[in-house]
Amino acid sequence: MQLESMYQDIILDHYRNPHHKGLRDPFDAEVHHVNPVCGDEVTLRITLKDVGGEAVVEDVSYDSLGCSISQASASVMSDLVIGKPVGEAMTISQAFLELMQSKGEGEPDEGVLEDAVAFAGVSKYPARIKCALLGWMAWKDATARAMEGTQ
């Protein structure tokens, strides 16, 4: 069975005990993203702070409904980006997107993606890639809006 290659323990752990979940105030931008195929949805808020002229992700909070993959991915994403400069977080986001587009052939850099390498198996299932990307796309959108707001 290949189920274990998709549903790694890391994914199931994050699914059962999601990190940083729940909406928090204050925030700089809020977005609501939906996967129209299945109806999975996420509302995500971002708070940025200025550290020596550089925008840093201070907090990401979210409320979501969805499958194990979309829930776990949002949890792992929040772990990865909170506390990071926006530029670095965007690089991680890009690395995750490339992993998802790799059709199971990707060799993820654990130094960059940390727990998110567990999603490598998901990239073999085209129907599930959108699940894994839902939280990330919401984060990217919210960050872009928050950055616009600060300029």
Partner: protein, 418 residues
């Protein structure tokens, strides 16, 4: 007690479907429980389509050569066959791309010029149970015309709430559009009764028959509807061709929808006149091979007997309802008996998201649908975000229903639920 005797040689049927012989993930045999989305195709349909391309490939309704004439015969022969299948006249059958396009055709015709034109203040009545294909086109019609969209709600059991039918259909209601079989709950609403109530108030009636024509005997006269729409690909036929049945005098009163070649009478730079129905609604070179495939699908279903098809599915549905009811943590959406209920069985598994249920079943070779099945308002009404759906057809077996139940239990164990 089934309304029809069960007499269907499932093993012989299965031998006609090449796709059922293949294996899927982990070299498992395919258990195809997603016919509500699209059915598999028998070799008779594939042969009809291929033979049309090999022997009769000319553009129908044009040209003076033999191939074109033969193509016209194939196409018009298919129309006559579909008409007979539904108890309609051949002139009342319009070929479209699919059921969605057929419904849009009617919705656009009602916002165009003519005696059927919907005006501000008019009302369109639909239901919460509809597939988006019989919902969004009516929302859009109301936006174009200033008409008001109203809808019947569903009961917790997944039936239409008809208590207020008489007050919901008013003198201003121009169209009542209702599913003939829910693609989610399998519910079969009393379309004939609804049609009678609508006609008493002067409203038109359209039935979305995408899930009924493939699965039960359908007679448009008995139903009493003005329009009926369905797709070939859900009834053993090819993709890319669907059917709109419309009462002759209504089609006659309707302006064209898509325009261009084949549907015109005279074209001048200043303006054009149009052919009578059904040609008025069929612009461009017709999908002759697809029509040949659809005709072969109708032949195939006729040979099985639609009563036998319905009885076979009823027996599988009863088995599935019994099997799923026994599983702790599984909630079936919709009626829990086969009375006025077709073979789409949607369910929730407590603690396991439908996507994850579907993934585990896929790993076992079992193909189901997950998500909201293009019926988002219905899911909202039933209090669920999404569901898993198994849907049955002529080639499914009782062993496959058991495999589904075993697969759900496996998913529960995998995710530590149930």
């Amino acid at each position: 007690m089934s309304a029809y005797p069960e007499h269907l040689d499932v093993e012989a049927v299965r031998a006609d479907f090449p796709a059922l012989a293949r294996t899927v993930r982990n070299d498992k045999p395919l258990v195809y429980l997603d016919s509500g989305a699209t059915s598999q195709k028998p070799v008779q349909v594939l042969d009809a389509e291929r033979s049309c391309y090999e022997l009769h490939n000319g553009a129908a309704h044009r040209g003076t050569h033999l191939l074109g004439e033969e193509a016209t015969d194939v196409y018009e022969g298919a129309r006559a066959k579909v008409a007979a299948f539904l108890g309609a006249g051949a002139g009342e059958i319009v070929f479209t791309k699919n059921a969605t396009e057929a419904i849009n055709l009617v919705a656009y015709a009602l916002s165009g010029p003519g005696r059927l034109q919907v005006r501000p203040g008019d009302e369109i009545l639909i239901t919460e149970m509809e597939h988006h294909a019989n919902l969004v086109p009516w929302q859009q019609l109301c936006e174009r015309t200033g008409a008001t969209l109203r809808w019947l709600t569903v009961t917790p059991e997944g039936r239409l709430d008809l208590d207020h039918l008489d007050s919901m259909i008013t003198g201003r209601t121009r169209m009542v559009a209702v599913t003939h079989q829910s693609n989610v709950t399998g519910t079969i609403p009393p379309v004939a009764d609804i049609a009678r109530a609508a006609h008493e108030k002067g409203a038109l009636v359209l039935a979305d028959a995408a899930q009924s024509v493939p699965h039960q005997p359908v007679d448009v006269a008995a139903l009493g509807v003005d329009f009926l729409a369905f797709s070939a690909h859900k009834m053993l036929g090819p993709y890319g061709i669907g059917v709109l049945f419309g009462q002759a005098e209504l089609l006659e009163a309707m302006p064209p929808f898509l325009t261009g070649g084949s549907m015109i009478e005279v074209v001048r730079m200043e303006g054009s006149t149009f052919l009578p129905p059904p040609q008025r609604f069929e612009p461009g070179v017709p999908a002759v091979a697809q029509a040949a495939g659809l005709a072969a699908a109708v032949d195939y279903l006729n040979a099985l007997g639609m009563g036998h098809v319905a009885a076979h599915e009823e027996s599988l549905t009863a088995h599935a309802l019994d099997g799923l009811r026994e599983i702790n943590g599984v909630r079936i959406l919709g009626p829990d008996t086969t009375k006025d209920r077709g073979g789409a069985v949607s369910f929730e598994v407590e603690g396991v998201h439908p996507h994850d249920v579907g993934q585990v079943l896929d790993e076992l070779g079992i193909a189901v649908r997950t998500g909201h099945h293009c019926a988002w308002p219905l899911h909202r009404a039933l209090g669920v975000q999404a569901s898993t759906r198994a849907s049955f057809y002529v080639y499914n077996t009782h062993d496959e229903v058991d495999a589904l139940a075993d697969g759900i239990r496996y998913a529960q164990r995998f995710f530590g639920a149930g």
